[in-house]
Amino acid sequence: MHHCEPHFKPGGDCFIEVELGDEMSFNLNVRVHALAAAVRAAKIEGIVELVPELASLLVSYDPDRISFADTVSEIKKLSELTSGDGNDGGQGAQEMPSRLFHVPVLYFDPWTTECVDDYRKTYPDKLPDPELLCEANGLPDRAALRRVHSGTEYWVAALGFWPGLCSLMPLDPRAQLNAPKYNPPRGWTPKGTIGLGGGISCIYPDRTPGGYQIFARTPMPTWDRDQRLAAFKDSPALVRPGDRVRFVPIERDEYDHIEAQVAEGTYRHPMVDYQTFSIPRYHAWLRDIGEE
């Protein structure tokens, strides 16, 4: 559900949570990004930074330069301008630049398998993740899981929890997969693992604890602390909210080849930076495929 008006809740005296709705959907998330873009463009004196998330925006402000009430009032004005979702002919964000990453992925790789087996030594009742995903989504086999999961572009809705960890929403609703999270979570996950939890996919930027179901791995780094590779020129974290990702299935020999290039420092990330994402055309496409 989208709120008619954003809800503003204080988080102490220096932060405000601006809640635009309470569902996980592309339409709502795009409004979050549009509002964040508008707030940034307005260069409001005293607003320090923004953390856009799935259905809300965290605003960090300097209370000695702008009050809570004035911050709320400025953002409310901007949200009225950006609240259309492009679908209803409203004035909302129509187009935004959006980079696209082609992420090479080895599905059902040996390293995530080993990680799941390690967990199952302590929790033997856990179904292996690929099988759990097939069962939870009515898919007949692993080949179907790979076909569905890689058959859509994903929208980078947010980053968070760990630096560089992205939350990905499938842009084709027919490819929406769902899965419960690990309970309790795993103590470790191989760097580059592809995970799925709730309705969100992610790429683990480093070897970290985690709770998503895991079933694939990419040799393409999304985190480079020392910023060695060209793609990390501006930040140790590769993706930003508003980017898109496409998973490209590869075989083991290509995985090893890419990994060697990464080690040598010669790897160039397959990234496209000349496209804009058109929201009205996205909605028109959804209608065409009968998904709206």
């Binding site: 102490g12 220096c14 930074e49 980053l159």
Partner: protein, 335 residues
């Protein structure tokens, strides 16, 4: 130049306002967990109060100075020596080339600061010298200081003489120094997700004792205490929020936010995750973040509810205390 002879438990370079502008990629602000003590240390050595300095945790470092320096130590009380001579905290100290500063362990509180005139000049990463140890960001070699590491120092501004922080201007880190009512319990404001708790749970939170768990660190202060009860809002929600009543759609985590993960209260401090899927019914305002930075394992904490106005007034008072008006010129007292 500063040489690290022993790093202590986890000592890092920190500065204010911390790392700004990269939170949406998952980089927290970091910075000193007790900004009150941090700022006074810098003022004692004639630095701008936000200059990069060292933060130590529970056990301080041993350092050798490779040039004459003016330094100051503040924060948690501990025994510290310059070569073989004990030296006091909260006061400007003069150090000669080759001298060794040896720090002990915190007797009360958790963290302390070592400021050097001219500041610590490690390279800025993503615009800041503040260290985010977990991801190896900031510091001389990426993360907490290591044995044998050498840190560059900046040029000192002209000396301001021998100064001391007036006792009344120091944070009451030791329990016995908390004589004023507002110093007993930690300030907490309702929000952003207070509507997800049952009103009984809100009352329970402000009237209970919360014990700091030993595994707390800069990514979060974990508390042990009574169980929470939740409101209807936490139960009738769309499935994508998650099944547990404390689950919410992933949202940004404010600094000082008190999250409830299942039944565990975890206070988000300077290196906490930028976002997550647990509710935050209360948030500690900026004026009392220092209390979280000085919380000791097994310490029993209490919280008191404050309004935005209370928090603003306290923030402004603290800002005034972190200024030259809190410093006393020692030279006046020398006969």
């Amino acid at each position: 130049m500063l040489e690290i002879l022993k790093p202590g438990l986890e000592t890092t370079v920190q500065e204010l306002p911390g790392r700004i502008g990269h939170w949406e990629q998952g980089f927290p602000p970091s910075g000193p967990a007790d900004p009150w003590s941090f700022r006074l240390a810098n003022l004692l050595v004639g630095n701008d109060r936000d200059t990069a300095a060292l933060e130590w945790q529970f056990v301080g470092p041993a350092l050798r100075f490779h040039r004459d320096c003016t330094i100051a130590l503040t924060g948690a009380d501990m025994a510290v020596k310059l070569d073989d001579t004990p030296v006091p905290l909260w006061q400007t100290l003069r150090v000669r080339t080759g001298q060794v500063l040896t720090c002990g362990a915190a007797r009360t509180g958790a963290r302390g600061y070592i400021a050097i005139a001219g500041g610590v000049q490690t390279p800025a990463v993503l615009g800041s010298r503040a260290t985010f140890h977990m991801a190896g960001i900031g510091g001389g070699s990426g993360g907490a200081l290591k044995n044998g590491e050498r840190l560059p120092l900046g040029e000192a501004a002209s000396s301001r003489g021998l100064l001391q922080v007036a006792p009344a201007a120091r944070p009451p880190i030791d329990l016995k120094d908390r004589t004023r009512h507002e110093e007993q319990a930690i300030a907490a404001m309702l929000g952003p997700n207070d509507s997800w708790l049952h009103s009984d749970a809100i009352e329970m939170f402000f009237s209970s004792e919360w014990t700091v768990q030993a595994r707390s660190n800069r990514t979060g202060l974990r508390l042990t205490g009574p169980d929470f009860t939740f409101s209807e809002r936490a139960y009738s929600k769309r499935p994508e929020h998650g099944r547990d009543p404390s689950n919410i759609l992933d949202h940004g985590y404010p600094l000082g936010g008190i999250s409830i993960a299942g039944q565990t209260a975890i206070i988000l401090i300077h290196d906490a995750p930028s976002a997550g899927g647990f509710i935050i019914p209360f948030t500690v305002p900026r004026c009392d973040l220092w209390r979280l930075g000085q919380a000791r394992p097994n310490e029993k904490l209490r919280f008191r509810q404050v309004t935005m106005n209370d928090a603003s007034a306290a923030r402004r008072r603290l800002d005034e205390l972190c200024s030259h008006q809190s410093l006393v010129d020692l030279a006046r007292w020398i006969a």
